[in-house]
Subunit: 278 residues, 2 copies
Amino acid sequence: MAMLQLEETPTAMIDRVASLLESFVGERPLTLAEIARRSHVPRSSAHRILQRLVELGWVQRKQFKYTLGVRMFELGAQFPRRHNVHRAAVPVMADLHRRSGLTVHLSMLVGAEIMHLDRVGIWPTAGGQWSAGARQPVATTAAGRAMLATLPPDQWAELDFEDAPTCYSIRSRNQLARDLDRVRDRGGVAVDSQGTALGVTVVAAPIPTADADADEHFALSLCGPTQTLGLEAAIVEVRKAATTTWRAAAGVPPLRPRPVAATGHGSRANMPHAHSGR
Amino acid sequence: MAMLQLEETPTAMIDRVASLLESFVGERPLTLAEIARRSHVPRSSAHRILQRLVELGWVQRKQFKYTLGVRMFELGAQFPRRHNVHRAAVPVMADLHRRSGLTVHLSMLVGAEIMHLDRVGIWPTAGGQWSAGARQPVATTAAGRAMLATLPPDQWAELDFEDAPTCYSIRSRNQLARDLDRVRDRGGVAVDSQGTALGVTVVAAPIPTADADADEHFALSLCGPTQTLGLEAAIVEVRKAATTTWRAAAGVPPLRPRPVAATGHGSRANMPHAHSGR
């Protein structure tokens, strides 16, 4: 019996630590009782594990409440940085944001969801779903559909159309298929107008992957108020940014800029409208 | 004996999981042998734990190498967001960056180091030490000294002057004391000219804390090329930004803007020089 317990302990213990840490979803500090309830770890055991995690800096304790510690942030922050694509995207995103005034996201495909790896821009100010580290469903987001369109359906995770956030959301496999046709017609760029949140339009382009076997998929997107976002210019810009990112990530030298007329794509005049009227 | 092991197991196991995860410092994927060596966990045990962590999404495996998984990033990304100060700082940082062209950091005090919670701007492009989630020593950074100056020395962590990164770095307690006097003369703003990295000047202001007992300390900083950064304007701007952040975090209504002359502080003319000449 004692042997059996000894054998079982490692995996069970890892799972307990993981469950405890994962109970900190959301930004509110939690009491021991709340953590025990969320993680399904017995209170006394949860208390002992938390104590150690506090000592290690993984969890922080303030009076009688716990939150995630600085160590967690420190380690997690390395995740985006280890991707070539992220390194390549950072200056492209900054440039795109500065010229357009729109919020730029770099997102990756994680099962049936997208996860935002990085974000430049502060609009929309509300809504945790737009933060770096947050997830959104693949089918109801432009970045998600831009990535889906590059993959054969047998490589898709199982999609869920249950929780359509607005009345403009895609809510069936058929609707999705029709939208992906439009994505392909636009040369790979997906547009979501108020399907993720009312008043928000997002335009996204997949970042081509350097090797065909890559199992990681990324997209860049531009997000702005539906009322003022200049769709055509945003489509051109986001596609160009995705290509620039791919070239930098893959080590392909950038295209030599060709001379353009003063009102050409490179100029500010043609950029998608800044939401703040800047 | 078996009882003893059972008693010992939880803490030892937590420490092993933590050591394994913490061995992923740096951005390079690691082999099992490297992880075992770095974490001092026996290879067979490391293998078993990693397998479970891969299943849980905390670690990712590609062929024979391991990296941190998406779960780690997702959880860690919540850390800055749970601070009022971060929420308050986000729009202030974006505004400051847009107007100055300089890189803006929000950092917090963690023992004898500062940790960057957020960053807006892409310069300097090289050097992991400037990323969100990265740490720098308190004494050799402007943000660190801006925070130290607000604290009685008996609340400082033990400082280490061993690793002075440049010949301009502060390298003794006496030098530090003299610098903190200058910080106080500037109304709390710290200036570091090439003491962190050659060619880089950083100007930092502490964010006042709402309650005196707060054990968390934050600073905002502006970072730019030593050759072009306009010091006087940067000092004014970063102090103003820190106050604005504090007011927003503490729920104090913003000051009514007073009419200023066209060349006053609020205007672009007086802003610290954008490094890229934009």
